[in-house]
């Protein structure tokens, strides 16, 4: 029963991984670009939630929207002021732009919020629920379920709406999209907004259930790399599937080998993937 509880806990955390990783994979799929600051976006989403709760009040809906909105804006601003200029530049500029941004955000957060772990004050979401003998903390359950729904929602938005098909058109053929009257720059800014927004809301969900410090950004960023590599670069359903697997693997390795090993196992999985299936488990060969 304990093992079952570990598995469910891992899957619920994995659902949040899936949500923020789908933001990373969206950018990769659309513009062949890796955002090294993506984990920091999640971390900022968590602090925005804290600030909203502290200064504006309101429940999870309020800080969820607050984090999503704040990060959406940040994503658009980052694209318009930085990414746009390095997108077709040398590899050095591409990598350094978001790598530098990650450092800037991470250490600014350390400076403002200190390195101490914090958590949200008790919200209306608390307590545990007994599902068939498994004790589930309600915050984890709510956060995980919402994360899955949002990831599916993002996928549907990309595949079934006009905006989604316009985004897709830009990623497939920039020139053709321009001929169709789509403005690639605007669409890419939107993609960055969506990507960061997904990270922000994932941060808010994470904040409901887990404590954090500014250093979590780095871990989440690397976790997102692993999820995206596993699910196939550019695939949101792949990210959902892989996010759940990574969450599960983490929970099980923490359970069997000890908490220190949860990241080691996941990063080792990443290296193994590069050797064996760089296109991802679900990607095409």
């Amino acid at each position: 029963m304990l093992l079952l509880q570990v598995i469910v806990g891992g899957l619920l955390l994995g659902a949040i991984y899936a949500l923020f990783s789908s933001g990373l994979t969206l950018i990769w799929g659309m513009m062949n670009f890796i955002n090294f600051a993506h984990g920091e976006f999640v971390m900022l989403g968590m602090y925005v939630s804290l600030l909203v709760v502290m200064y504006l009040g309101g429940g999870p809906a309020a800080f969820g929207f607050g984090a999503a909105f704040a990060l959406f804006v940040l994503g658009v601003v980052v694209y318009l002021s930085l990414i746009r200029y390095v997108l077709r530049g040398p590899m050095l500029a591409q990598i350094l732009s978001t790598f530098g941004l990650a450092l800037l955000l991470r250490y600014t957060a350390f400076w403002i919020f200190s390195a101490n772990f914090v958590s949200l004050p008790q919200t209306s979401l608390s307590g545990t629920i007994n599902v068939g003998g498994i004790l589930m903390p309600i915050p984890q359950l709510v956060a995980g379920v919402i994360a899955i729904l949002l990831t599916i929602g993002l996928h549907l938005m990309l595949t079934c709406t006009t905006i989604g098909s316009q985004l897709l058109a830009v990623s497939e053929d920039r020139g053709a999209a321009m001929l169709m009257g789509i403005k690639p720059d605007r669409m890419q800014a939107l993609a960055w907004g969506l990507s960061a927004g997904a990270a922000g809301i994932a941060g808010a969900l994470m904040a409901i259930a887990y404590p954090w410090s500014p250093s979590v950004g780095e871990t989440f960023g690397l976790t997102a790399f692993v999820v995206v590599a596993l699910g196939g670069f550019g695939s949101v359903p792949g990210a959902l599937f892989a996010g759940l697997i990574v969450g599960l693997i983490q929970a099980l390795s923490a359970f069997w080998f000890g908490p220190i090993y949860k990241d080691i196992v996941v990063y080792a999985l990443f290296v193994a993937l590069l050797w064996l299936r760089p296109q991802g488990l679900m990607g095409k060969a």
Partner: protein
């Protein structure tokens, strides 16, 4: 001056570095000098693969850390002089470089960058749990020298000249590399991999060789660090900031330029020393905020670093004279 125009900056630089400790002989200035040399060595080593080949590693600390752990591990296990561990560090780094290079260099440059940062973190966390290498506490070298071969000196002066020699060797190597077929191939791969292949450049093999060479020198830099400080732990060996420093120094000065890392170190190390002195311990965090900002600005405005900036603003004639 007119007779040997290309040589004179090099000679001036060499003379300046040689006599620096004689002029600034205080312990503080000597320490700054040694820190500067070590930073210049590490960044120059990074430059081979990150600058010349254009394969941006953001986890070079893995080689630095392996190089740093090897000497002190040899001392801990067998009581050997730490120097004896240097080849082991190099061997481990070369093996790791090949292990990472083979799968990632078949793919676009992003995979390499992601793999480097993930592997560096993997090793850092693992070393933090591994008792043989002292886990989170790390390793220590000989407290007092048993002989000159322990390279444990009370004064910083011997380290200064040892480091300077290594830097000179590395820069000479890079200078020769630039003029060799290998150097041309690296530059070609950096700007046009597809075109390079069509001209018969063995791209994959050339990139791996660049990474291996870079890893070797980075490993030596790590060994120098731990032999001098007599101490290493996961953070100072494999921490992300070790990698960041190599990247920022090379990119700030000019990635893919012989003297780029030197120029970068010349600016950054005094700056870092100054902020640390003025702000005390609290300055460290601030330093990294500034680092992040500088990296973003380089990426956005001048990926060629100060070297390229200088070429743009300097008079045309100077440029032509130094073009080839």
């Amino acid at each position: 001056m007119n007779k040997i125009p290309a040589l004179s900056p090099t000679v001036l630089l060499a003379v300046a570095l040689l006599i620096y400790p004689l002029i600034f002989s205080g312990a503080f200035y000597l320490d700054v000098g040694v820190t500067f040399l070590l930073a210049a060595i590490s960044a120059s080593a990074w430059n081979i693969v990150g600058g010349y080949a254009g394969q941006v590693s953001v986890g070079h600390a893995m080689f630095f850390g392996l190089g740093a752990y090897a000497p002190l591990l040899c001392y801990k296990l067998y009581g050997w002089t730490p120097m004896a561990g240097i080849p082991f560090g190099i061997a481990a780094s070369v093996a790791l470089a090949i292990l990472i290079g083979i799968p990632t260099f078949r793919l676009t440059g992003h995979y390499f960058s992601m793999a480097t940062i993930a592997v560096a973190e993997l090793i850092r966390i693992y070393f933090g749990t591994w008792d043989l290498v002292g886990a989170a506490i790390g390793l220590q070298g000989p407290a007092t020298a048993r002989g000159w071969w322990d390279l444990t000196f009370r004064s910083e002066l011997p380290y200064y000249y040892i480091f300077l020699t290594v830097l000179a060797v590395l820069l000479s190597f890079t200078y020769l590399m630039e003029r060799h077929r290998f150097g041309y191939y690296l530059r070609a791969i950096k700007v046009g991999e597809r075109a390079a292949r069509s001209l018969g450049v063995p791209v994959q093999q050339t990139k791996i060789r660049a990474l291996v060479l870079s890893a070797m020198f980075t490993s030596v830099a790590g060994s120098l660090y731990s032999v001098k400080t007599g101490f290493i732990d996961p953070e100072s060996g494999f921490g992300i900031l070790v990698s960041v420093q190599m990247v920022i120094i090379a990119a700030l000065g000019g990635a893919g330029r012989l003297y780029g890392p030197l120029i970068g170190a010349l600016i950054l190390i005094p700056l870092q020393t100054a902020t640390n002195t003025w702000f005390g311990g609290g300055g460290t965090g601030l330093t990294f905020i500034v680092y992040g900002g500088i990296i973003v600005l380089i990426a956005r405005y001048e990926p060629g670093g100060i070297y390229d900036l200088w070429e743009q603003i300097s008079p045309r004639r100077w440029r032509r004279k130094h073009a080839s």
